[in-house]
C-alpha cells in the first residue's frame, strides 16, 4: 500500500498520445508557433516604447503619414502616432478581448449546457428554446445595437460611460452575451450522453447529488470538446471585435485595437494604403492561426478523425 501514491500517473500517456497526434497536423503546429510569436510581438510594446521613447497615444499633427524611419519603424498614422507601437498595443487589446469574451461566454454556455443536459425535462426544453432563439438572431445588427447603447441610461455614471475601460468591458460583455450558444449545445449533448452512463448511475446509487455528478463526472468528460470549441470561439470573437471596433461600436480611440485602427481605413486606402493593410493582416493571421490550432486539437482529441 505504501506504493500507491508514488506510482506514476499513467494519465500522462494519454496527453502524450494526443500531443503526438497534434504534431502530425503540420498547419496546427506552425500556427501554434505563429501565435506565440504574435503574443511576443504584442508584448514587445513595453520594451519598445521605452527604447524609442514614444507614447503610442500621443498625436502629432505635424508628423501625419510619415514614412518608415529610424524613429517610427513603420511610419505614423493619420494622427501622427507610431504605427508599429499602436499595432502592438492594439494587438494586446484585441487578444485580451478575444480571450476574456470567450472565457465569460464559455462559462455561461457551460452552465447552461450542463444544467440543460443533466436535468433534462422542462428545464432543458426551456433553456434550449432560449438557445435556439439566440442562434437564429441576426448577429451583427444585434451587436451594433448593443454596441450603440447609452450606458448612462442603464444607470452608469457619465465618467464611466465615456471612459476607455467602459469601451473595453462593453465589447467583452456584449460579445459574451451573444457568443455562448455553440458551447452550450455542445456541453448539453455531452452531458446528455454522460448522465446515462453506468458510472453516473453507480454514483447516484451511492447517493451522489447532481452537483457532485456534474463536478466529478460530467465536466471532466466534456473537457475535450470544450477545449476545441473554446479555441474556435476565440477566433470568432477576435473577428467580431474587429468588426465592431471598425464600425465604431467597440473599443473607443485613443485606445487602439486592430479593429478601430481600420476606422479611417476606407479613406486611407487612397493616401496611405499600408495603414489599411497592417491591422487587417494581423487580424487575419491571428484568426487563421487560432482556427488551425483548433482544427489540430480536434484531430488530436478525436481518435477517429482523419488527417486533414
Amino acid at each position: 500500500m505504501s506504493g500507491i501514491a508514488t506510482l506514476p500517473d499513467r494519465a500522462i500517456s494519454v496527453g502524450r498520445l494526443r500531443w503526438r497526434r497534434f504534431r502530425t497536423h503540420r498547419a496546427a503546429v506552425a500556427s501554434l508557433i505563429v501565435l506565440a510569436l504574435l503574443v511576443l510581438f504584442c508584448l514587445a510594446a513595453w520594451p519598445l516604447k521605452t527604447y524609442l521613447g514614444i507614447d503610442p497615444d500621443a498625436t502629432d499633427l505635424l508628423a501625419r503619414f510619415d514614412p518608415p524611419s529610424a524613429a517610427h519603424w513603420l511610419g505614423t498614422d493619420d494622427a501622427g502616432r507610431d504605427e508599429l507601437l499602436r499595432l502592438m498595443v492594439g494587438g494586446q487589446i484585441s487578444l485580451l478581448v478575444g480571450l476574456l469574451a470567450t472565457a465569460i461566454g464559455g462559462i455561461f454556455g457551460l452552465l447552461i449546457g450542463v444544467t440543460s443536459g443533466y436535468f433534462g425535462g422542462r428545464i432543458d426544453a426551456a433553456l434550449m428554446r432560449f438557445t435556439d432563439g439566440m442562434i437564429i438572431l441576426p448577429l451583427l445588427p444585434l451587436l451594433i445595437v448593443l454596441g450603440a447603447l447609452d450606458l448612462t441610461k442603464l444607470g452608469f455614471t457619465k465618467e464611466f460611460a465615456t471612459s476607455g475601460a467602459a469601451g473595453f468591458w462593453r465589447i467583452v460583455v456584449i460579445i459574451s452575451i451573444v457568443d455562448w450558444t455553440s458551447i452550450a449545445r455542445l456541453v448539453r449533448a455531452a452531458a446528455l450522453a454522460i448522465k446515462e452512463r453506468d458510472f453516473v448511475r453507480a454514483a447516484r446509487a451511492s447517493g451522489a447529488g447532481p452537483f457532485y455528478v456534474m463536478r466529478a463526472h460530467v465536466l471532466p468528460n466534456v473537457a475535450t470538446p470544450i477545449i476545441v470549441a473554446f479555441t474556435l470561439t476565440v477566433g470568432r470573437v477576435i473577428l467580431l471585435e474587429s468588426v465592431l471596433s471598425f464600425l465604431g461600436f467597440g473599443i473607443v480611440p485613443p485606445t487602439p485595437s486592430w479593429g478601430n485602427m481600420l476606422n479611417n481605413a476606407q479613406e486611407l486606402v487612397n493616401t496611405a494604403p499600408a495603414l489599411a493593410v497592417y491591422p487587417g493582416l494581423l487580424i487575419f493571421i491571428t484568426v487563421i492561426a487560432v482556427n488551425f490550432v483548433g482544427d489540430g486539437l480536434q484531430h488530436a482529441f478525436d481518435p477517429r478523425s482523419e488527417r486533414s
Binding site: L146, D150, G235, V269, G280, F284, S308
Partner: protein, 317 residues
C-alpha cells in the same frame, strides 16, 4: 408534415414577438431620444413645451405600454416615419431589402458553386496537395475579416488597377443592367470568398464520409465509372447535411452581406441600419432590425423544411 410546419411557424412567430420587444427596449436605450433634434433645432422650447411634446409622442408612458401601442400599429402595417429619410420606414426599407437580396443571392450562388467544386475535388484525395491548398483557402475564407477583405479588394482592383468602381450601385441614375452588374462584381466576390471557406469544409467533410459508405463502395465494385460514383452516388447523399448547414448559416451570411454593403457604400439593409443607428433614426433602426430578424427566421424555417424533404427519415417529428 403540415403540423410540423405549423408548429415551426408558431415557434418562429413567438421568437419574433420576443425579439421585437427586446429590440424595442434596446433601441430605447440608445443615446438621445426622438425629440432631441426637434428640441435642439428650436432653442425657444421651454421645459413645459418639451413635456407637452413628450406627452404627444407618448414618451412619458411606461415601456410596456409604448411597446403595446407600437405593436398594434406595426401589426396594421404602420412602422412609423423615418427621421433621416422623411419617408415611412417601409418605403425606405423596400429598395434596401431588394438591394441586399441581389447581393445575397448572387454571392450565394457563386459561393455554392465554388464550394461544391472545390469541396468535391478536395474530398477525392484527402491529404493530397490539392486538398491541402483547398483547405488553406477554406481556412483563409473563415478567418478573414470581411470588411478588411473588402478594403483590400478596393485597394487592389479599384485604387490600383481601376478595374471596378469602389462604391455605389450605379454611376448615374439607374445606370442600366451592365453598370449595376459592374458595381456588384466586387461586393459579390468579397462576400462569396468569405462564405466559400465554411461551405468548402462542410462539402468536403460530407463527401469524404459518403465516399466511404457501403453503397458507394458497392457502386465502385459494380464497376461504375469514377465520375458516376462521385456525382451520382456520393454527391446526392452528401448534399443533405450540406444544405442544412448552409441554410442554417444564413444568419452569418446575412451579417456578412450587411457589412459588405456598408464597405462598398451600396444602399442596402446594412447601410440603412448602420446609418439609422448613427443618425438616431429610431423607427428606421427598429424596422430594419425587425426585418433582419424575419429574414433569418424564415431562412431557418426553410432549412428545417429542406432537411425534412431531403431526408425522409426525419421528416415527421
Amino acid at each position: 408534415m403540415t403540423r410540423f410546419i405549423l408548429r415551426r411557424l408558431m415557434q418562429a412567430l413567438i421568437v419574433l414577438l420576443v425579439m421585437s420587444f427586446v429590440i424595442y427596449g434596446l433601441i430605447g436605450l440608445m443615446p438621445g431620444d426622438p425629440l432631441d433634434i426637434m428640441i435642439a433645432s428650436n432653442p425657444g422650447a421651454t421645459p413645459e413645451v418639451v413635456a407637452h411634446l413628450r406627452a404627444i409622442y407618448g414618451l412619458d408612458q411606461p415601456l410596456m405600454l409604448r411597446y403595446w401601442h407600437w405593436l398594434i400599429s406595426a401589426l396594421m402595417g404602420d412602422f412609423g416615419f423615418s427621421r433621416i429619410h422623411s419617408q415611412p420606414t417601409l418605403e425606405v426599407l423596400g429598395p434596401a431589402l431588394l438591394q441586399t437580396c441581389k447581393l445575397l443571392l448572387a454571392s450565394f450562388v457563386v459561393s455554392v458553386v465554388l464550394s461544391f467544386v472545390l469541396g468535391i475535388v478536395a474530398a477525392l484525395r484527402p491529404g493530397g496537395i490539392v486538398d491541402s491548398f483547398i483547405s488553406l483557402f477554406a481556412f483563409a475564407g473563415i478567418s478573414v475579416p470581411v470588411f478588411w477583405l473588402a478594403l483590400m479588394m478596393i485597394l487592389v482592383f479599384a485604387v490600383n488597377l481601376h478595374w471596378f468602381p469602389a462604391s455605389g450601385m450605379a454611376n448615374i441614375g439607374d445606370g442600366g443592367f451592365m453598370d449595376q452588374a459592374r458595381h456588384l462584381i466586387m461586393p459579390v466576390t468579397t462576400l462569396a470568398l468569405a462564405n466559400t471557406g465554411g461551405f468548402i469544409r462542410y462539402v468536403r467533410a460530407s463527401m469524404i464520409e459518403t465516399l466511404r459508405m457501403d453503397h458507394v463502395r458497392t457502386a465502385r465494385a459494380k464497376g461504375a465509372g469514377e465520375g458516376r460514383v462521385v456525382l451520382i452516388h456520393a454527391f446526392r447523399n452528401a448534399l443533405i447535411p450540406v444544405v442544412t448547414v448552409i441554410a442554417l448559416n444564413f444568419g452569418t451570411l446575412f451579417s456578412g452581406a450587411l457589412l459588405t454593403e456598408t464597405m462598398f457604400a451600396q444602399p442596402g439593409m446594412g447601410k440603412m441600419i448602420y446609418d439609422s443607428i448613427l443618425g438616431n433614426d429610431f423607427n428606421l433602426a427598429l424596422t430594419g432590425l425587425l426585418f433582419a430578424t424575419v429574414v433569418t427566421l424564415l431562412s431557418n424555417l426553410l432549412a428545417d423544411l429542406a432537411y425534412g424533404w431531403l431526408d425522409p427519415r426525419i421528416a415527421v417529428r
